[in-house]
Amino acid sequence: MPRRSQTSRRQLRLGLAFASPWLIGFVALVLGPIAASGYYSFTDFNLFQSPTFVGVDNYTAMLDDDRFATALFNTLYLTVVGVPLALLLSLGFALALNSRVRGLPLYRAIVYLPTIIPIVVSVYVWRWLLNAQYGYLNRILGFLHLPQPSWLEDPAFTKPAVVLIGLWMVGGTTVIFLAALKDVPRETFEAALVDGAGPWQRFRAVTWPAISPVTLFQLIVGLITSLQLFTQPYLLAQTRLNAAAGGPDDSLLTYGMYVYQNAFVFLKMGYASALAWVLFLITVAITAVLMLSSRKWVHYGQ
């Protein structure tokens, strides 16, 4: 093995070698289906018969589609409200659980537990908890003399209900932050302590920069997940098993749900693919902005 050789060809070979599992997977399993869906977006395709080419008709149809606008609005609402809140909450939990509280492993497990419960079961339990008259949530609100909305029937409150369930499920995000917090260089942290820095200053100067790469990750992944959100609203809005509904006044119609409906219920796979690619472009745009902004606040290395 050549030593000290930094030829770019060697680096290329090394890079490709290490990245080979993903490269193989990408070419074999990912590229084909993605290209297929791109092709379908320019066709009229019902999943079973040969697609007929329709050019950009699917894309122009979106401009006239009320439900597309509703789905986009609902999804952006859930993202703009839900993602920052979830990140703040999970970071808060991680900071709280990072200290030497007694019984810490148990508390960590409790925070993570919601993500292990089968989602069908947990959403159905939440439907019961959110019952406007008798659900526990409203009983607690009533006890605190706060208004008790009809979470699942009032179009103004269905999305907040989804956000609430999302906050309940921050266990995964919390666990990642916990691992990141363990990375905070202890010497720098202790030096700050010695210097007399208060907890907020310690956080700003030491902790935050150290975890910023992971925070960027959480932000981007949270954004992608939220923009594609399907399962929770789908289960909340269901009146019958396996039926896809949009909830009161379509307030629970997320973009992911609309794609699903078009693909598997209306059998308009062409339109569904076009919808998916529009979301893709929106996601890329927002991510690009985030990545550009990250140069200002993300610190790599020591």
């Binding site: 019952n131 008798y134 009809s150 009146t239 396996n242 006044d249 409906q261 598997f264 209306f266 059998l267």
Partner: protein, 425 residues
Amino acid sequence: MRRRFLGALAAGALVAALGACGGGDEASGGKTEVVFSYLWAGEEAAALEKIVADFNASQDKITVKGVSSPDFQKQLTSMSGAQGSFDISDHFGSGVGAWASKGILTPLDDFIKADGYDTKDFPAAAMSQMVYQGKTYSMPIALHTQMLLYNKKLYAEAGLAGPPKTTEEWAEQIAKLTKRGADGTITQLGYANAEINTSFTTLGFMFGGSWDDQSGAATPANPGNVAGLNFYTDNIPGKYGVEQVRKFTSGFGEYASAQNAFYTGKAATIIDGEWQPVSIKKFAPTLEWGVAPLPYPSAQPNLTGTTQVTTSTLFIPRNAKHPKEAWEFMKYLLAKDAMTKFSLALGNLPARTSLVDDPQYKALPQFDAWLGALKSANARSLASSPWAAQYSSDLALAFDDIAQQRKAPNDGLAGVAQKAKSYAP
């Protein structure tokens, strides 16, 4: 590096071995294996498996393997390949047209003709959903009808003698059966929707409306439909305030539980299907309830006995490996014996009119009311058109707007007609 590689190789070999033992194709002993994939699960699946076992025991040419697959995404993905993973499955009648028009169902006419199979025993309202462009694409295994259920105790409290015959009587009874507190808060509703889509389409039928016409076009704004929805808005949100009604209905419990609004006396009357006798026996055995034919407008006595028929159907996908054998099994399921067992276990109506008077159904309390509805001349059903799913979705939105009084019935339904122009001819 080598250790890691060997480890991966071993894992790969293990996986390959797993792949090999995943699911066989031909059953041993020269029998043809037919895969029956069905949406039912739990107790219903158990009942179905018994029938499958009976079939397998009754002959030695075909072995049927039953697979419970409760999600229809799986059905669709399987039917999209060149060779399907199942030979026979079930679906709802209203979806037959859509799938038939995509060419993924095997037409059954040749089988029917070759065997001289008699389809006259199946009611016309059911068979109409099985046919697309003159060809038969599936067969009904179970039927569902809608009747008016009423709470006998609440009726006695309100001093009412019995269920209404006309819609005018019903409106009066709803007013007497609705109780409110001093501030307008509702504590009991004379009528509540069991499931808004089915209830509203049924109301449309009750007032002589129709959701599609002979040529298969969508007719949401039919005056009968509008009249049916006006009946609801006039008598419920229009009278008691849409906010109050929503507040009350938001406190309803899960439909399939002891907290069902009808079981707990929150709704005095509902329109619902024939599975209720079994459900009530399970969740609310002490409930005093009765069932009656749906009321008709007094000016149109010809509409008496209207009901909406929906169907559970069996079909053979185009890419089935063994369509002929699947047909043999289908005939067995449709035969009187298996059909009776199946419908009794599920609490559904049999699809054969000749079974309507079968004494075995007396075991289910008041079940015969729904059976009788099958014989009605006014048994209506929604057309099974290629665009049925999208129409149903647009109707659902309009129904929500109408029930919440964001739109008047004729406005909401006209909106659906407008939307339907783009997908229904």
